[in-house]
């Protein structure tokens, strides 16, 4: 007769070790997939940025569907990145590197959108949202309100979140923070103007000064 209690312990340990092995394999598959996605976004956003130099009023209609799809991809990749980092067992440095890649694509998209707005007269509101992991209450409030506006006005409100804690060594993010005088968080740059925390009504009024909100 076997001694059941220690044998159960050994089998349990084996199950957990197998689980860890499979978990690391899964995690590496996932980080590869996310890295590929970010590389694709990076190439695409660089390409868009170069193309933005070529925009003139006659090519606006051709660019619009491209931009719309690209912004959709950007939103999806952010969601994937967030869900990945929440459950990942990979090291934090690697996770931060992925974030920086995402951030650069994000900023390139923002620059392209600004250029498109100027050249093509697109009535879209762009919001850069500066926050970090230490800013809980106000940043949560702003994040919830911005998410609400994004859902309500769809592609007419474009939000570019920048987590300054994750982007602390990134020169582009820091330059933007200096440019817009971000000394406290949260900070919003709505169509080029800088604001602190805002109530929903004020935020919506600012967005609707650019966007034709009546159609919603």
């Amino acid at each position: 007769m076997v001694n059941r209690a220690p044998l159960a312990g050994i089998i349990t340990t084996f199950i957990f070790l197998s689980g860890f092995t499979m978990g690391f394999f899964w995690d590496s598959m996932r980080s590869n997939a996310i890295e590929q996605e970010l590389n694709r976004l990076s190439v695409y956003s660089t390409s868009l940025l170069i193309e933005s130099q070529l925009i003139d009023t006659t090519t606006c209609d051709a660019f619009w569907p491209i931009l719309k799809d690209a912004l959709g991809d950007l939103g999806d990749s952010m969601k994937t990145y967030v869900s990945y980092t929440e459950s990942s067992v990979s090291n934090i440095d690697y996770s931060n590197l992925l974030y920086k890649k995402y951030l650069l694509s994000n900023i390139r998209y923002w620059m392209f959108t600004e250029k498109y707005k100027q050249t093509c007269g697109w009535n879209v509101s762009t919001v850069i949202f500066f926050f970090d992991d230490d800013c809980d209450g106000e940043c949560d409030a702003m994040s919830t309100r911005l998410d609400y506006l994004k859902r309500k006005y769809d592609n007419d409100v474009l939000i570019f979140p920048i987590n300054l804690w994750l982007a602390q060594d990134d020169p582009v993010a820091n330059s933007l923070a200096i440019l817009y005088n971000v000394t406290e968080l949260p900070k919003l740059v709505i169509d080029g103007k800088v604001f602190g925390a805002l109530e929903l009504n004020d935020l919506e009024a600012l967005v609707c000064s650019t966007v034709n909100c009546d159609k919603y």
Binding site: V2, G19, W26, E86, Y148, L200
Partner: protein, 407 residues
């Protein structure tokens, strides 16, 4: 990041997988059942305590009437425990209608509890064996002879208890639990490690039961407490796998939680009274330790579930707090998609392992009872039912700490 919740989650994961692996090993070790028979079938007393069981008591007596055990060797004693309904009337009517069947009625002047009623029968019984029978249970025609068949060398023989009523969803899920528990009991029986003699229809050797002082009238689960004392006296027990008894089970969630609370409370009471009952040098003690581990897992599951609800509800609360009740934009932009790469790997693997091993157990258990179960009910049993049991465990622990001993 390591915090208390993460540690607790890992504790649950390790403990629960350890428990199911431990029981899976019983499958491998399972031994055959010895079947030494009597030359002459012994007389048996059947003690039936009844409190407000006017609706059911007749069915219980009827089930004995159709038993394949010789009727002249069955001596039923119904103890009316101060009922306020027509229990006494039903029993008297049954006695009048069946003069060839030895059925007696004892009446308690007031409600004294099940253990008191059983002890009342025990004091006067002259047979070698006594069976405790719940007044809302029905024995299969072969149940009594099967119990006797296994009683040759042991002091207690237990049956396989199955639900009598199984129409609703809650009853169907409970049926799976009964099937599962019976199979587990059959495995434990091979090692003399059973911890309870189910109230619906368990057989006791009278001399041994009298020697340990009968049933504890302070316990809310006398069928469990008595096993602790019988074990202490060196007595062994067996399960008769073909002795089936059908019992009335709760049809509402509240009733289920109340019943399970009583069972858990009874276990904690018994451990408190007999701390050596959890000493790991016997199979019985090791089994009780596993029961303790199970209590830890169920309590922790409830705690993590509550936290999970909070985590899920927090964004919704934030929306209400910061945006108000305008949910239309959320409904408009809702979409469902499954991205396998975004799955929580730890949770996915854990659930897969638990579901896989539990499914093996359930499959073998259903074969044991030759019953088919609905996969949806099995899913509810594996992933939802535990919450009701966890709630009962929490309430039982609280009551036990408070010193509450009431039914």
């Amino acid at each position: 990041m390591i915090n208390g919740f993460v540690l607790m989650a890992w504790g649950i994961a390790v403990a629960s997988i350890y428990i199911i692996v431990y029981y899976l090993l019983l499958l491998i070790e399972m031994e055959g059942e010895p079947r030494r028979r009597y030359r002459r079938q012994p007389d048996v007393t059947i003690a039936i305590p009844a409190y407000n069981e006017g609706k059911h008591v007749r069915k219980s007596l009827d089930s004995l009437l159709v038993s394949n055990y010789p009727l002249e060797k069955i001596h039923a004693v119904v103890v009316d425990d101060g009922s306020k309904d027509h229990t006494r009337k039903e029993v008297r009517k049954f006695i009048r209608e069946h003069p060839d069947f030895d059925v007696k009625l004892l009446v308690n002047s007031k409600n004294r509890g099940k253990a008191y009623s059983l002890n009342r029968v025990l004091k006067t019984t002259t047979t070698d064996f006594m069976i405790t029978m719940d007044a809302d249970s029905e024995a299969h025609p072969h149940a009594l002879s099967e119990l006797i068949k296994y009683s040759k060398d042991v002091s207690i023989v237990t049956p396989c208890v199955l639900p009598r009523n199984r129409k609703g969803r809650i009853e169907k899920v409970q049926e799976i639990e009964y099937i599962y528990s019976n199979y587990l009991a059959s495995l434990l029986s091979g090692f003399d490690a059973q911890t309870v003699a189910p109230g619906p229809f368990s057989l006791f050797r009278v001399v041994d039961l009298k020697n340990v002082g009968g049933f504890d009238e302070d316990s809310v689960a006398e069928d469990l407490e008595v096993v602790f004392r019988m074990r202490k006296g060196g007595h062994s027990m067996r399960l008769a796998p073909h002795a089936k008894v059908y019992t009335e089970i709760p049809i509402k969630l509240g009733g289920l939680v109340k019943q399970r609370k009583r069972w858990k409370q009874g276990f904690l009471y018994a451990v408190n009274k007999h701390p050596k009952g959890i000493a790991p040098h016997t199979e019985f003690g090791r089994q009780n330790l596993m029961n303790f581990l199970y209590i830890f897992v169920t309590l922790s599951v409830l705690f993590l579930f509550a936290r999970g609800i909070f985590v899920v509800a927090e964004p919704a609360l934030n929306v209400i707090r910061y945006v108000g009740f305008d949910i239309w934009p959320y409904l408009q932009s809702m979409h469902f998609s499954i991205d396998f790469l975004s799955l929580d790997i730890q949770m996915t693997l854990y659930i897969s392992v638990v579901a896989f091993i539990t499914s093996i157990f359930l499959y073998v258990a259903t074969q044991f009872h030759d019953r088919r179960i609905n996969p949806f009910d099995a899913f509810l049993f594996m992933f939802v039912y535990g919450l009701a049991i966890s709630t009962a465990t929490l309430l039982a622990t609280y009551s036990w700490v408070k010193g509450d001993r009431k039914w």
